[in-house]
């Protein structure tokens, strides 16, 4: 193993630019993004709709290739990684996923083992243990024999988390994981992610919309605006009313929670 050579950096984007090809020219999304995730980092990525948060995640998985700059994983440019090797290390919880009908939760979570598959038809005991652990970690163990199409929004999200965890990733990318979830489920889900990061040393990058939720969840917040990372640091420093006005064009007031943390309050709409 090359453990001794491993740096603390898990993945990085260096001067990354990306534009979607469109019939009438190109739509520039990222101009020059620099972002580095250290091993064990827990980072919330925020920004307006269309600011390129999902694009950034897709660049990190290699599904998209940057027009300029370089994306690295474990120090090596993503272009040097085989898709299968990357899938053994990086898992994604997508913003939207159409689940196929008729599969049971266990079968779907089993699909998360695909990059580790060793046998042509059978799964290994390691696969079955990983699936059980992923289900337990995601709090989805009681859903094991249910059909995916019968799940509620919160249960469905737990299934998707379990699928991603079954990959046994080192880096977990979450694209708006709290979308469609009520407050209790939002807190429960992010609590699970945070605990996994604390216990397993997972590195996590999560796209979030709720700034207060991001501040409560992540010790580090990165803000994407106009194709660049315009702020990156602890939420107490980064999420100021001034910056929120600049990035989102919305007036917010600053309040303090009883334990001294900053809270951003909307003015009456």
């Amino acid at each position: 193993m090359t453990t001794a050579l491993r740096s603390d950096v898990m993945t990085s984007l260096e001067g990354v630019a990306f534009a979607y090809p469109m019939p009438e020219g190109r739509r520039e999304v990222l101009r020059s993004v620099d972002l580095t995730l250290a091993r064990g980092d827990l980072v919330a990525l925020v920004g307006t709709n269309g600011s390129g948060k999902t694009t950034l995640l897709r660049l990190l998985t290699g599904v998209l290739r940057p027009d300029a700059g370089v994306v690295r994983f474990e120090g090596r440019p993503l272009t040097d990684w085989r898709r299968l090797d990357l899938a053994r290390r990086v898992a994604v919880l997508p913003q939207q996923l159409d689940l196929p009908v008729g599969f049971r939760v266990a079968e779907l979570v089993g699909m998360g083992r695909a990059p580790h598959a060793r046998r042509l038809f059978a799964s290994t005991e390691a696969d079955e243990r990983a699936v059980a652990r992923a289900l337990a970690d995601a709090g989805a163990l009681e859903l094991t024999d249910r059909f995916a199409e019968e799940l509620s929004g919160g249960e469905r999200q737990r299934l998707l988390v379990a699928m991603a965890l079954a990959q046994e990733p080192d880096l977990l990318l979450l694209d708006e994981p709290t979308l469609h979830l009520d407050l209790a489920h939002q807190v429960a889900l992010l609590g699970t992610i945070r605990r996994l990061r604390d216990q397993r040393g997972l590195t996590v990058l999560a796209v979030l919309h709720d700034l207060n939720l991001a501040a409560a969840f992540a010790p580090r917040v990165a803000i994407l605006d106009d194709g660049r990372v315009v702020a990156d640091g602890p939420p107490a420093e980064v999420l100021s009313p001034d910056l929120v006005r600049r990035v989102f064009g919305v007036q917010v007031d600053e309040a303090r929670t009883p334990d001294g943390r900053r809270h951003l309050a909307l003015r009456e709409v």
Binding site: D98, V101, G110, P115, E128, V131, A136
Partner: protein, 370 residues
Amino acid sequence: MRAAATASTTTQTVNTGPSLTRVTVVLGSGAILVLTAMVVAVAIGSVGVGVGDTLAILGHRLLGLPLARSVAPGAESIIFDVRLPRVLTAMLVGGGLGLAGTVFQALLRNPMADPYIIGTAAGASLGAIAGLMAPILLPVLAIGIGSSWLGLGLVQVLAFAGGLGTVLLVYAVSRANGRVPVVTLLLTGYAVSSVLAAGVALLMFFSGQHLGAIFGWLMGSLAAAKWTNLAFAAPLLTISAVLLIVRWRGLNLLLLGDGPAANLGLDVEREKLMLTMLATLATSTVVAISGTIGFVGLVVPHVLRLAIGPDHRLLLPASVLYGAALLTVADLGARVAGGIPVGIVTALIGAPFFIWLLRRSRVVRPVVTP
């Protein structure tokens, strides 16, 4: 999420695939069904040969067992030269259509998909009809019409090439920025099929005395089954079936969508190309020896998905066995009904059965929930 802290230390396992018992029951019943249908279909015909005699003849010719003297003279030839090739063709064609239909429904994430959907049928039809009419179109070909190429007639060769060539064209046209979106593939297939169908209609308009033959081919028939055709089709179908069945994992992942499949390590574009070409190879082979038999490739995957679930690990081999059994029985019906094209039987019985099934199942199951 409450269980997270306590359960993470357990060493239990969760089974993610079909149990061995389930696999044995599903595939075992399928195999028994196919073999039973085969023996019955070989035994029944205008000249009655009992099941016992049929088994004796099959045992004699296939396994080298001694033949009992009681078997009627001529029966051996009827069984071995006429009925057996036809029944084996029905099995191959049914299995190929069931398998290709299953692959296309998953690949295109569309419950309406069948083996013909992206242009195989239209291309093969145009090829076959051009072959049937070759003597009129190009009188010089009339000399070659009776000759064969690799044991195949001109019609079969052109049908096979037409089906395969059309899909290659559709796939190339659908490609943009190194990707082939399935919706584009479907729509391009539909558009190209329409153009080719116009060509088919035009040829039929000028076909004169060939119209009957053309129509029979379009309906799909196994009446022309021959050992030489089987020698061409069996290896191609076996190879494509094996290569498709071992791709079950990729097919399952593609049901999640291109992006999620890529994140699970699948080389999505390569896999889609492989699956499309293998399923098209199977379909074109089948169509070349039987014409365009409808409904088998649509119904078999749906019935099986309702009965045994959508996991392609079991669904793909099952679709071969149950597709083979279905068409063997349907062709027996076609022969008993006075030799009508088997395509009429599959449409006449298959379609109402399919409607009944859709109404009976709690929900009409699409392949993917939006």
